[in-house]
């Protein structure tokens, strides 16, 4: 049976079809799971796609965290299943306490949108196993609240446990330690602000996201 990816859609999510398209392009299956569903269907991995879940009201991810589907996502993550949150999905994962820290408004209050160079800092995660540490990937960002912040203790923990997966080559948003993406201790839950699903076709200007999406599919087929 081919690998199957559940793509979570909240009211206001807008990147779910880009993820679906890329997963299918890479030869796997994907299906949309709406936020009020209690289960994930037959999923080998979960992607929380970008957008503005519940309008980003109160704070990005604050309301999405209480959607029924998040109970299933938390259980899936706890059982070791691969979970990736992209952009707004990263914000949802921090609000749900599946990843530490928080994403606040960009330094300088600038909405950042454009290709960004990311350095892969660890190939040990469900999203980076098919790329090499030190690789520099061109992946677009598109966010207003991507300024990663956390306590000094959390930062030290992320650094010492090699859980910073991506750093910006040129920090666009004020993130502490240039952090663009992190993982949990189990290395199966990953959050990142850049959009790898938007860098998977020559027509989009970069195919550097393919290695990341392929990593997820490889991880999914093993889980």
């Amino acid at each position: 049976m081919s690998t199957n990816i559940a793509v979570i859609r909240f009211p206001g999510t807008n990147c779910e079809f880009d993820v679906l398209e890329v997963v299918q392009q890479l030869g796997a299956q994907a299906h949309i799971v709406f936020h009020d569903e209690p289960g994930l269907g037959n999923a080998d991995a979960v992607v929380i796609a970008g957008g503005f879940a519940h309008g980003d009201y109160l704070r990005p991810g604050a309301i999405a965290r209480f959607s029924p589907v998040m109970t299933a996502v938390s259980e899936f993550a706890a059982s070791g299943g691969p979970v990736v949150g992209i952009c707004n999905g990263f914000q949802v994962l921090t609000e749900a306490h599946l990843l530490p820290g928080a994403l606040q408004k960009n330094a300088g209050l600038k909405f950042r949108c454009g290709p960004t160079d990311l350095r892969v800092e660890s190939s040990d995660s469900v999203l980076t196993r098919a790329v090499a540490t030190g690789d520099v990937l061109s992946i677009p960002i598109n966010h207003f609240e991507g300024n990663y912040t956390c306590s000094a203790e959390t930062l030290a923990e992320l650094q010492s446990e090699d859980r910073v997966l991506f750093r910006y080559v040129n920090n666009p948003n004020g993130s502490v330690d240039d952090i663009a993406g992190i993982c949990n201790q189990g290395r199966n839950v990953v959050g990142l602000m850049p959009h790898p699903e938007r860098a998977c076709h020559e027509l989009l200007g970069s195919t550097d996201g393919v290695g990341l999406m392929q990593s997820l599919l490889d991880s999914a087929s093993r889980s």
Partner: protein, 88 residues
């Protein structure tokens, strides 16, 4: 009893406040001198039913911690005012 609750949410000390900084930078151009320390937060108002003030405080504190604020970056201050002794 019914209490009117006002929750003021503000960024924790040490967390950058780009909105406050941007407003502060704009002030001299508008002719406002001597204004410092601008910070931007939000205020959330609602009514809450509880047996007494300490029960209401406990409920709103829990609400703040679990939902209205993100404790990684935000603090909150709660004000309660009794407005009625029982619901209509």
């Amino acid at each position: 009893m019914i209490f009117e609750a006002v929750v003021e949410v503000r960024l924790r000390a040490g967390i950058a406040d780009p909105q406050g900084a941007t407003i502060e930078r704009a002030l001299p151009a508008l002719g406002f001198e001597g204004v410092d320390g601008v910070t931007v937060g939000k205020s959330i108002r609602f009514t809450v039913q509880a047996d007494d003030e300490s029960a209401a405080t406990a409920l709103v504190t829990d609400l703040c911690h679990r939902f209205l604020t993100n404790p990684v970056i935000e603090d909150s201050e709660i004000s309660l005012t009794a407005v009625a002794t029982s619901p209509n």
